[in-house]
């Protein structure tokens, strides 16, 4: 303290005896000296306590992604490929076609029904394929199928294969088949890293954005900057609380995958945690940027949904983004959630080293750096 004379101390020095005479109201100043990081630790502690006391946080951050993983994991669990339903239009050659189809090793479920009923059932999705024999046994057959329905295309290929083989086709190229299905290639294995990425995005954006705007709306940010508190300590404490939460989120989701779905984590845990931290950092930056000006919770909610919506759709959380047109691919790959999901999948499922992820890491670092820099110059404390 540069001022040697503080009024109260001076007053105490000059009038300490009379203070006691007048009722002893003068309270001694307890000379507690706060260190450089006292405020940071208190801010972090307060933030963690607040989160712990908010049941919604527990639900949305921890329970919701678990339920989602659980539900989707069960709905899309691995099942044998479905057997095509084939209708054979009743007619002179129908019996022969059915016999030929059943003789083949291809699994087909075929039945003979009147032509009108067969076409009707095809239209309603009850049959995947209708075979209309023209003429007697060994005569020409006609396939009615829908090229836009994958199961119809599959049924046509299988039925044709069965009929051609039964009719005596010789395969010029010998081919052996072996069934192959193991953890790592299933839908749940694809899904869990995607959910992890999405959860880091959701909780990062809300954890920063919502809290900051709520504090601003309460004038609590203004109250804090009216003290000597360092603004960087405040933001650092908020970011640290996100990191602590990130480790918990990550452990829970991967734990569920391992225990319940027998998922195999191939990559190193250290690399996974580092990726999680980088992802949490990028989305904390985006959350900070989104919340840098908004005065009301309603405004920031809309803004955050606007930012997150494209990533929910395009970033390959529930299905591969390769399905989108090629023109969109460079844009999709530039999104932070795409980079995070790709990196998490490569590390968790394939054990790729971080060095092989340079592109994705660069995308995440760029998002984090740019959003933090913009946010710090735009951020309004009052």
């Amino acid at each position: 303290m540069s001022a040697p004379l503080r009024t109260d101390e001076a007053a105490k020095a000059a009038g300490a005896p009379s203070a006691i005479v007048e009722g002893g109201a003068r309270k001694p100043v307890v000379a507690r000296q706060n260190g450089r990081w006292t405020a940071y630790w208190h801010l972090l502690g307060a933030r963690l306590k607040e989160m712990k006391r908010e049941p919604e946080v527990i639900f949305w951050v921890f329970l919701f992604p678990l339920l989602l993983a659980f539900g989707l994991g069960i709905a899309f669990r691995s099942r044998p490929a479905s057997i095509p339903n084939v209708a054979i239009a009743a007619g002179p050659g129908a019996d022969a076609v059915l016999q030929m189809a059943q003789r083949s090793p291809q699994s087909l479920h075929g039945q003979i029904v009147p032509e009108a009923e067969a076409l009707d059932g095809f239209r309603l999705g009850r049959y995947d394929l209708v075979i209309i024999p023209h003429g007697d046994a060994g005569g020409e057959v006609e396939y009615r199928y829908d090229p836009a329905r994958p199961e119809s295309v599959l049924a046509k290929a299988q039925a044709d294969d069965a009929l051609q083989a039964a009719a005596g086709r010789q395969n010029p190229l010998p081919a052996a088949e072996r069934a192959f299905s193991e953890p790592g290639a299933r839908y749940i294995d694809f899904l869990i890293p995607g959910l992890l990425g999405m959860n880091l995005m959701n909780s990062g954006m809300w954890g920063m954005g919502f809290v900051l705007v709520d504090y601003r709306q309460r004038k609590l940010l203004k109250r804090y900057v009216a003290t000597p508190m360092r603004r960087s300590d405040f933001l650092l404490a908020l970011a640290s609380s996100r990191l602590i939460l990130m480790v918990l989120e990550l452990g829970l989701l991967l734990g569920l995958g391992i225990l319940f779905f027998h998922m195999r984590v191939v990559g190193s845990w250290l690399a996974i945690v580092l990726l999680g931290a980088l992802g949490a950092g990028a989305f904390a930056g985006l959350g900070l940027l989104t919340a840098s000006r908004a005065q009301k919770i309603e405004t920031v909610s809309g803004l955050m949904n606007l930012v997150m919506m494209p990533m929910w759709v395009f970033s390959g959380v529930f299905f591969s983004y390769e399905r989108f047109p090629a023109v969109l691919q460079p844009l999709i790959r530039a999104l932070p959630l795409t980079a995070l999901n790709d990196a998490l999948r490569a590390t968790i499922l394939q054990g790729a080293p971080l060095a092989a992820q340079a592109g994705n890491l660069a995308v995440l670092v760029a998002w984090m750096a740019i959003s933090f820099l913009l946010a710090l110059s735009w951020f309004r404390w009052t």
Binding site: E22, R218, A226
Partner: protein, 350 residues
């Protein structure tokens, strides 16, 4: 150095005198003024003029009040002094320093309670105080501040569960835990019940007695009258009057108010019978009357000596053949000053 005239310390309070001595002692160092601002202007969005040239000088150890109706510019003024808002133009010095040159030092020295801060609801009272204490290099002990503000019983309760009065005390506690030299309070008692208000007044007095400087805004006249050594009345972003409560009341011309009502019919009749003289002029011409105004069906006279005015008033009433329905006398208050000042102001505008 200070253009303000030195007021002798009040004799009734030994503490005050000591505080004053301390202030003089510090003044040798050239820091007699706690808060000083000149030509403060604030224009919002280039059109709304919230402050139109404010000059203030607040001494160390003083309790100073900014008094004015809602929207007068009190909050804008206090937030500029607190360094939370940039002025459009003008100069601010707090304890001899400016916000530009010594922001961190000043933050250590000020304790601030904003208007309507909603502190984190899911933290307990003690956690909140300890959090604020952690921001300062040398805070007071949270335990001691809680005891002083009678919040010890509530120290484990969540902030969200507190009553209005308790929340307001907690807001002041977050300022006091800083161990500040100057306490800024923006409408500290708005919306509180009388008991909670009195409790807060005691806390503020206590702080001042220990040598602290207080700047508070209020739109309660009684609060300003009881707490403040000096005050400035603000209206439309300007100071329209300033001084100690007693000085302001003295400026009314008289320290007593005589309020009365007379029988309506007779007073109407009387208007015609007194040679075309307006009733107001009759009252104005009574001995010792400084001013007359009508308020809520009553005639209010500002007088120097009620014992001279009242017999004359009774005589005048009976001369008019009227009947007295109501008569009270009381000490003039800041409320009367305010009605006089803003009333005149409003009339000038329209």
């Amino acid at each position: 150095m200070s253009p303000l005239k030195q007021r002798p310390p009040k004799n009734e309070s030994l503490q005050k005198r000591l505080t004053h001595k301390a202030a003089q002692f510090v003044r040798i160092e050239g820091m007699g003024l706690a808060i000083e601002c000149r030509g403060l202007r604030k224009t919002y969005d280039g059109k709304v003029e919230a402050l139109r040239g404010l000059d203030l000088e607040i001494r160390e150890g003083e309790c100073f009040g900014l008094l004015g109706p809602n929207g007068a510019g009190k909050t804008t003024a206090i937030e500029i002094l607190e360094g939370l808002l940039a002025a459009t133009s003008g100069e601010v010095r707090i304890l001899g320093r400016t916000w530009q040159s010594h922001p961190r030092e000043l933050r250590e020295w000020l304790g601030i309670s904003l208007q309507e801060t909603r502190l984190a609801e899911k933290l307990t009272v003690r956690e909140t105080i300890e959090l604020f204490a952690s921001f300062y290099r040398q805070p007071r002990s949270a335990h001691e501040v809680l005891a002083e503000l009678e919040l010890t019983e509530k120290s484990d309760a969540w902030v969200g569960k507190l009553s209005g009065g308790q929340r307001q005390r907690l807001a002041v506690a977050t300022a006091l835990v800083a161990n500040p030299r100057i306490l800024f309070l923006d409408e500290p008692t708005t919306g509180l019940d009388p008991q909670s208000r009195r409790q807060l007044w005691d806390i503020i007095r206590e702080f001042q007695r220990a040598g602290g400087t207080v700047l508070l805004t209020t739109h309660y006249m009684d609060e300003a009258e009881r707490l403040c050594d000096r005050l400035a009345i603000i209206d439309h972003g300007q100071i329209i009057a300033g001084g100690s409560p007693a000085e302001l009341i003295e400026r009314l011309g008289g320290q007593h108010m005589v309020e009365f009502a007379i029988d309506g019919a007779s007073s109407h009749e009387a208007k015609k019978t007194t040679n075309g003289k307006h009733m107001q002029e009759v009252w104005r011409s009574l001995p010792g009357v400084e001013s007359v105004h009508a308020d809520n069906g009553l005639v209010c006279l500002t007088v120097r000596q009620p014992h001279v005015t009242i017999p004359a008033l009774l005589e005048a009433v009976s001369q008019q053949g009227a009947r007295l329905l109501h008569l009270t006398t009381r000490q003039a208050s800041l409320e009367d000053v305010f009605v006089r000042l803003t009333g005149r102001h409003l009339r000038e505008e329209s």
